[in-house]
Symmetry: C2
Subunit: 339 residues, 2 copies
């Protein structure tokens, strides 16, 4: 593959090299001895009271099929890293390190280096390290030019500062931080609507969307690390839900104390890709909030008395946000009521 | 699937339930708050000086194909856990927790619970916890009744006690701990010899092997945690190599200081499965020690003055071992010379 073809495929060699350089710089700066041989090493130099390791494993799911169809392999690594970062961030954890697992039928160095370059970009963006990983060549497991990726993250927090949702009470407000698109969820339904029902392909353009179908569906799952950390530093956040598989309906109750429910007001601008999918697929209100994030990737529960300070903190960073609902006493069986 | 069919398939429901019960017991005993929702939590309660986290990611590779052919899914989880334990053990790390990633085209609860039961068994055997994991349903990625698994381990050690091989010098002895079989390496070659060349199947019996081909090839990758920890406690071990992909040839140099080589004497009883494979496949001496572990899964480098104490420690635990070689000045380009 020539360098210009790399660029066409969305990968910038210079940027890849820069990422490797950056990660090496970070690796030494963060006190990591070396990228391991049998294992990776992460010295816990920073003292933290009541330390709790927080860990999560994730994949990218069938969003990978969009990468295969588009021939773009440089973004799924960022999806993977950011998804993992957000999954530990909901408890207030700082990411320490990441490991990847890449499995493919036949290792194509170009493809693998595109994937790893995306993972490195994700680690650099979130200012933590790639400590190791495994690239498995498994003939007969994967179709030609296909692969699977999994990521593992380890973070740390002070147990006494864990954001566990226990102090959430009726009247607390829900602040929604916008998503960039589908993130890593709802791709089985989206693919069914777009490719099976509408017979479109990744290069198709539709009126309501600025980019091609493939570009819209490959938009990178964003990390909420920076805005959320700035709020956590001031103790403004009582609980958080990362809106992934299961949408609002399944994820918000994960952090909600018993006896409470939430009412969501649909006041935020839903990104056109969701409007397009739910219209074309005739997706019911309940289903769309269970399958998709509908434009909100992270929900924060805050005390109303902190609202103006939360607003100010987010505005100072040019972080868009929406006041999307409120916590209520649980009066019926529905814990998440979409109005 | 009936319970008796489960048993026939090598899975014992009672044992599975026991494992779940055991792991729950361990989870509470080890101070873990709860199996996480977005993540898992591991409080670092035990104080350790100069703490370094040691982490590794692994898969089971194409050994999974033997599991698919045999319909036995309860052992690959133990392979996965033990492989990971051994990969951090070589530096002297104690395992803290494990996460798994299981990906399949369509989630078959019976198969997934067999896999997870094996992972739990592995965690119980090594006395550490399964902290979480991801089970991904990815239609169109895997063939029917097939799957991939990856594991991720985090352990800890005192940096000043890290077994880094730096003190290894000419004259040090190599102690080999026996493997149970192929462990998780060499399956592409083994499958080629057994199924493509010899046209055997997993139920085939050959004269030199006690068990069927499938049973021989599914033997579980063993953990060396117990014997190695007993030697580490007495500071008898200068360096270790886990004999995985790359065999003796690639793995021993990982821990060997520059300027040194090792000479291996083939004095241990090579298990019949390896004799069978190298005879049938006409595998050269060099290749067999690069592809297979040839009956030695872990190599320890020790000071000759500690030999009798090492022997005594291992004998007290009924752990078989072989004195398989010696460290020498590097006189030629071969760093691992098989005599």
């Amino acid at each position: 593959m020539s360098e210009s073809m790399y660029r066409k495929a969305g990968v910038d060699i210079d940027k890849g090299n820069q990422a490797v350089h950056k990660i090496k710089e970070m690796v030494s700066k963060m006190g990591v001895q070396e990228i391991g041989k049998f294992s990776g090493f992460f010295p816990l130099k920073k003292k933290i009271a009541n330390p709790v390791l927080v860990s999560s494993a994730d994949g990218v799911g069938t969003k990978l099929k969009i990468a295969f169809m588009s021939g773009i392999h440089g973004t799924v690594g960022r999806d993977l890293v950011n998804h993992c970062v957000d999954d530990i961030l909901v408890y207030g954890a700082d990411p320490l390190f990441f490991l990847d697992y890449i499995a493919t039928g036949k290792v194509e160095p170009d493809t693998v280096s595109e994937i790893v370059s995306g993972i490195l970009d994700g680690c650099v963006d979130n200012e933590f390290v790639l400590l190791g990983g495994e690239t498995a060549e498994m003939p007969g497991f994967y179709q030609d030019n296909e692969y699977d990726v999994a990521g593992f993250i380890v973070g740390i927090l002070n147990q006494k500062k864990m954001v566990d949702g226990k102090s959430i009470k009726a009247g607390d407000l829900l602040v929604g931080l916008p998503s960039t698109g589908l993130h890593t969820n709802g791709y089985s339904l989206a693919r069914y609507i777009v490719f099976d029902q509408l017979k479109l392909n990744v290069d198709s353009k539709v009126d309501s969307l600025e980019l091609t179908i493939g570009e819209e569906l490959l938009k990178v799952h964003r990390s909420y690390l920076k805005p959320v950390k700035s709020l956590l530093a001031k103790n403004y956040v009582k609980g958080m839900a990362h809106i992934t598989g299961g949408g609002f309906i399944d994820n918000i109750p994960r952090i909600l104390p018993n006896g409470l429910s939430v009412q969501i007001e649909r006041i935020w601008p839903v990104p056109p890709i969701f409007e397009f999918l739910v219209d074309a697929g005739k997706v019911s209100l309940e289903e769309r909030f269970r399958v998709f994030n509908m434009g909100i990737g992270m929900v924060l529960m805050i005390d109303p008395k902190n609202l103006s300070k939360v607003e100010q903190t987010l505005q100072e960073q040019d972080e868009p946000f929406y006041l999307i609902g409120q916590v209520a006493e649980q009066k019926n069986t529905q814990r998440v009521l979409i109005k």
